[in-house]
Symmetry: D2
Subunit: 285 residues, 4 copies
């Protein structure tokens, strides 16, 4: 039996792919309603993380914050205290590298194996089984869960020891921030030179110079509707993490640090709750 804890936007879709590909699943979520569809499709319900632990060989967690992960994993009724020695915990939550290393060390006290496996991709790739897993931990452990990861994702990218999955996730968010900001400036330049905004955007999206994810931002830019998918203030925070990670590792990052501050200026002028693509709104004339 496989356990799955955390049935939010991402987790529920990931678990569905497991069930629909024939894996026997026992699930837990803070609120049971979110599990109803899964239970209809054959998943079993557990009343607590403890019950998941007692009945599974492998447990996946997909939770919102480090604090929630700790709440599920640690403590007397937590996952670790009731998961038998030698079993395997796969944490897919987005957390920092240091936190992952700490969780691995907690698991280790109980003789439990641990994989750090955050994902790149959001709602739609989660539903379609097209996530990208960024995995840190032991390679043999990864092989053991590969059949499950394969039905949830299209790529499994091994990054090294525990924590490295999370490090790679930070690099990816940096790329998101930079690509979006550079695209925004390029569209502004095109418009300033008298090109049609629509044509510039379509031309860039058809070419090889633009990150593919920006296709998903096209409507926002064309309609100047920057309702949040990934709020600008979160991106500014991630850029600060990037900047601090670079400093801690003695790396100069001149361009990233400027981009960081342009997001900060945009936030300062009231775009904090908008999607991070609202950097376009800030930079446009």
């Amino acid at each position: 039996m496989i356990g799955f804890i955390g049935l939010g936007i991402m987790g529920s879709r990931m678990a569905e792919n497991l069930v629909s590909h024939g894996f026997e699943l026992i699930v837990y979520n803070r609120t049971k309603e979110k599990a109803s569809e899964l239970l209809n499709k054959g998943a079993k319900w557990a009343a607590s993380p403890r019950e998941v632990a007692e009945k599974s060989e492998i447990v996946f967690t997909m939770l919102s914050t480090p604090k929630v992960v700790e709440g599920v994993a640690l403590g007397e009724d937590g996952l670790l205290n009731h998961f038998a020695e030698g079993k395997l915990w796969v944490d897919c939550s987005t957390v920092g590298p240091d936190f992952s290393i700490k969780m691995a060390s907690e698991a280790n006290k109980y003789g439990i194996r641990f994989l750090n496996a955050p994902v790149s991709g959001s709602k739609v790739p989660a539903a379609n089984g097209e996530l990208i897993f960024l995995v840190g931990g032991n390679k043999e452990d990864l092989e053991e869960v590969t059949p499950m990861l394969k039905v949830m994702g299209k790529e499994i990218l091994y990054q090294g020891e525990v924590g490295k999955g999370s490090s790679m996730k930070l690099v990816i968010n940096l790329m998101l921030a930079q690509s979006m900001a550079a695209f925004a400036e390029a569209v502004c330049l095109g418009e300033a030179m008298g090109l049609s905004k629509d044509i510039v955007i379509n031309t860039l999206l058809n070419g090889a110079t633009t990150a593919p994810f920006i296709k998903g931002k096209k409507d926002k830019l064309l309609k100047n509707d920057f309702s949040a998918e990934f709020p600008l203030e979160h991106m500014q925070k991630d850029m600060q993490l990037v900047s601090e990670a670079a400093y801690a590792n003695n790396l100069a990052m001149p361009i990233a640090n400027v981009t960081k501050e342009i997001y900060a200026l945009a936030k300062q002028q009231g775009l904090d709750k908008h999607d991070f693509s609202a950097i376009y709104q800030y930079l446009t004339k």
Copy 2:
């Protein structure tokens, strides 16, 4: 009959696609040797731009610099002086928007129609008929040459009046410069945090956050071999054009201006003749 002037790396491949798709072609190049393969495949040779003009309905030019374009088009023996009223000149050369507008006005004096049609894409897309045409000029004129553009390219993107094709090309080069520099910083960050360079590069290239053209730079980064495809000093020059175009149009571009200076620092420290992807070498620890 269709005329084609300029059989360099790009032009020879474009002309071949025309011939091999059944268009009757008459070609001219400063040195005849470069035409031999085309002549074998059925193209006719012209001894001068004048002869091309006299025997063609439509003339394509694909030349290296504005000066060479002027040399071919103007003067007593030039293209314009021998091209009949109402015929159509399509210039695919990479030139500035102002120069294109000037050529259109020269053509206009002779009653000749003019299209500004620079391309995005280099040697391999040219050979495969997969260029992207960025077209400025009259829409009806574009329709007339669409059958030809379609065998040379995979996309025909109409940008507006004459000059706008060249403006769009500047926007695209900006995207190249920014994407490359951001990717370089991201790889450096990954390495600084202890990830494998190879894994970071492969992970980014497999995801949606990276501009597709960077796949073509992968080997350079992995082998630290920055032999030039597009020299860094040209990119720095194009970024200066971007900066000046932004200034002329009252647009602030904070990120582009920093990136410009990082290329300038890299140039200053001796990487000017290397490929522009050598920005990685400059930024790495």
Copy 3:
């Protein structure tokens, strides 16, 4: 007799210092009213640049733009055509190095000597004889006018051949832009950390870390009254000149280029006609 052409805010005050120190002066200005005080103090009036030229050994010009300088110097009734061979023209106007070199070459055609002598300092230093002269040209020529410069200025700083005075003026304006912007950010940081704006400003102005000219901006910052002494849009333009001069001379200037764009953002958001110290208003929360 010494000639003086251009009696604006600066020129009238400079000429007064010459007269009040006993130099015999003949003056010309487009509008005669501005000369009345000087004429009361003993200066003679000339009806045209030509008359100034005919009656003087040395002519000073202090004019608003290169175009006005050309209007006065060139042409049939211009200064050069009526100034005898071997005489000396000292241009104190703020112009570019290239323009100064062109004027020197025009003067040379008539055998006339030329000094490029822009000033650092505005209205009050002009009145008090406390300007700083940045001189380009021949050293012997400079010695000849030193007695006059000494009554108009407190410093005479020889920079090298013609044009170098203007180059130095560009360097000084760069320092103005950078010092002001850095001071603005520092005050914002102090306020953001909970310090009193008043105290931060006074502390910085009392210390050795702040450019002395900022004392003159204190009231603007304290009262948030950014009426223009030196408009922000002019500073942004000068920063563009700095950036282009750096590019032309193969120099990377990462910090200056960012500062330039922050002025451009401030301009873009409507602060163009304010004093350049309004960069504070743009950066403050």
Copy 4:
């Protein structure tokens, strides 16, 4: 009796000014040799911080790091445990605002008053009694020590409650970093345009656009001898503190963040142990 703990480069000179102006002084330092000159001039020696505490009404500390301050102040034999209720501790060490607030709170537990009084100025101003005190704490406490501060410094600048002295010190170090970097770029620009380095430096130092402290860096720049007074790596660290303070307080600082990274690039290329004015060496062609 007044106590003084910490007789390094700064402390020994400050203590000397107290003694030579007639204050009765008891001093302590980890190594007694550094006190010999002071003892000759009449200061008394204490064998421990405890003895200083027992015999003084007011104690000054001037120590190298927060850790050393804690070592002296806390613990069973520390200053606080033996300083009577109501007495006054003045910490002149350079520490962060949070640390100062913590020390104030520790002092408060014993009923001891606390002033946060870091200084601006180095060796020579310390010797000449020309330091600038940046004071955070209670105004009445400040009045009590004003006679002593006046013989050690030329300015006493009250910043607000405890911690604010340290906040102001961060603002001042930001100004140092920015002024130095801007000056370096300006000199590079002058040289690139063909001006003499010597003349540019002298002209700027004579004008109102340059922070006065840069006079002290003149020889370093002229001789390209960047032996450290304030090492570049410390300045880069302080700029990181600035960046983090700005982030924590929701302030965008685009120019400071770029300057920070230029120092980081210079450090990355081996200038870490040089004086921070070596930013010139990094930026020059």
